[in-house]
């Protein structure tokens, strides 16, 4: 899933300080799963805004809406009859959400309520970690199912570097050295040989480095 963190309330209040009527828009996709932008969080953010503004003697109307997804035009479209009722919208979907809202409603003022972090998964309740950088050419099968692009601080294809210590990365004792995990896994599987070969330079053009990407599926086009 795409994992995000809510922006500090103060930042959001500052963005909408000149408005009197705002719509907070949530998303039932990834951000609901990572508890940052679903129906519940829309309610929490809306209440927080109302309370703060009331305290400041500058009351505001905040309405709540949570779309099925903000990354599909058909759901974004569902706001078409109400958008003009508001001074602004705060999207708490991933970074795609505010952009899709702004593209569909060019006259609307749209603000992002969360900071999108990464593609990852839940390690435990309340803890998420990065797993994928979307390089466009998945190679995890070569590394015991671990991704050195996303999880090595240097994205090394030949690790572990000289900074690996006690299974941890040189940048922080809180970061696992993914190359330690790779070596451990392949050693256990008796496949250390696969780490005795040189990996060619990576083609990064399939990654962000090749420019903004687009996937076109002719078989699905109407």
């Amino acid at each position: 899933m795409i994992v995000g963190e809510r922006k500090p309330l103060g930042d959001i209040l500052d963005m909408i300080k000149d408005y009197k009527k705002v719509l907070v828009v949530g998303c039932k996709g990834c951000v609901t799963v990572c508890n940052v932008g679903g129906e519940k969080e829309v309610g929490i953010l809306a209440s927080s805004i109302r309370i703060s503004r009331k305290k400041d003697g500058n009351e505001i109307t905040v309405d709540e809406r949570t779309l099925e997804r903000q990354c599909d035009p058909e759901y974004v479209d569902q706001l078409k009859d109400i958008v003009s009722d508001y001074d602004a919208m705060v999207s708490i979907a991933c970074g795609v959400g505010p952009q899709f809202l702004a593209e569909r409603y060019p006259d609307a003022a749209v603000y992002p309520g969360i900071n999108t972090q990464f593609m990852g998964g839940a390690l435990e309740h309340g803890v998420w970690a990065e797993r994928c950088q979307g390089c466009g050419a998945c190679l995890v099968h070569n590394f015991g199912g671990h991704c050195p692009i996303a999880r090595c601080s240097k994205s090394l294809l030949h690790g572990p570097c000289g900074g690996s210590s006690g299974g941890k990365c040189e940048i922080s004792k809180d970061v696992d050295c993914v190359w330690h995990l790779i070596v451990e896994k392949l050693a256990k599987q008796g496949k250390m040989d696969s780490l005795r070969k040189l990996v060619p330079t990576k083609n990064w053009s399939t990654s962000r480095d090749g420019g903004p990407r687009k996937v076109v599926r002719e078989d699905l086009k109407l």
Binding site: L156, S165, T201, W204
Partner: protein, 307 residues
Amino acid sequence: MKAGSNLEKVLTAGIFAITGECGPPRGANAEVVREKAKFLKGNVDSVNVTDNQTAVVRMSSLGASLILIQEGVEPNLQMTARDRNRIAVQSDILGAYALGIRNMLCLSGDHQKFGDHPEAKNVFDLDSMQLIQTVKKMRDEGTLINGHKLDGAPKMFIGCAANPFADPFEFRVYRLANKIDAGADFVQTQCIYNLERFRKWVDQANDMGLLENVFLMGGVTPMKSVGMAKYMKNSVPGMDVPDEIIKRLQGVPKGDQAKEGIKIAVETIHQLREMKGIAGVHLMAIEWEERVPEIVEMAGMLPRPVL
């Protein structure tokens, strides 16, 4: 001869070699480099010039290397993959060779998190293994990574680093083997304080026959004080400083700690010299170049050969 550098000549002649190190200044003052060169000239066979070590911005390795050449000291240009993509890497190699550089040490580079610009974007388009392969390809095949034929191949003597003190230990010797396969001609190791662990790693390398195909130089850094030893032990990733070293430094009066540190370094050099498969020593006297002449003298390695 692959490159014909002085370092290559000394190692190929079977003479126990010694390389020094010069950290460029945090500024454009060429005099700092010239001053350091004075202490290194004639005392070592080649001098590593670090590339923004610990990700702190300094005069470029290439710039400082050129100053060394002007001073009659042979540089070993360190290059990291942290700050340049494959376009800059190859371009810098061509420029370095054209300007007289004949040795290169290929590194991944310390993460920028440790440096003075932790907000910088990191590159790591290549890693150290691929950087070695790139220099080798340019030298031996006379082409760029993409196969484009070069008008003039950079004939570099190719070095790499190895850290036998990083984890997981059992994989370290395979990583060395990969670097040799990639094209390394010589290896300079992380600073050695734990000789027992180093010996174990060298034994593994000898058992695999690796040291017949590469010149292995053991890294030595003299401790200036107990404080430095403790800092190296606790704060430098991948460094193994046994308690005995710290105890030994603590055992002498404060004013004598530097002398004791140098004594330990000289003893290490003697031990390395006795080890099978060790071709030389890489002396990293960090911001202490003025003590290099006496360390090399005490190690019985003067005068240096003129080949």
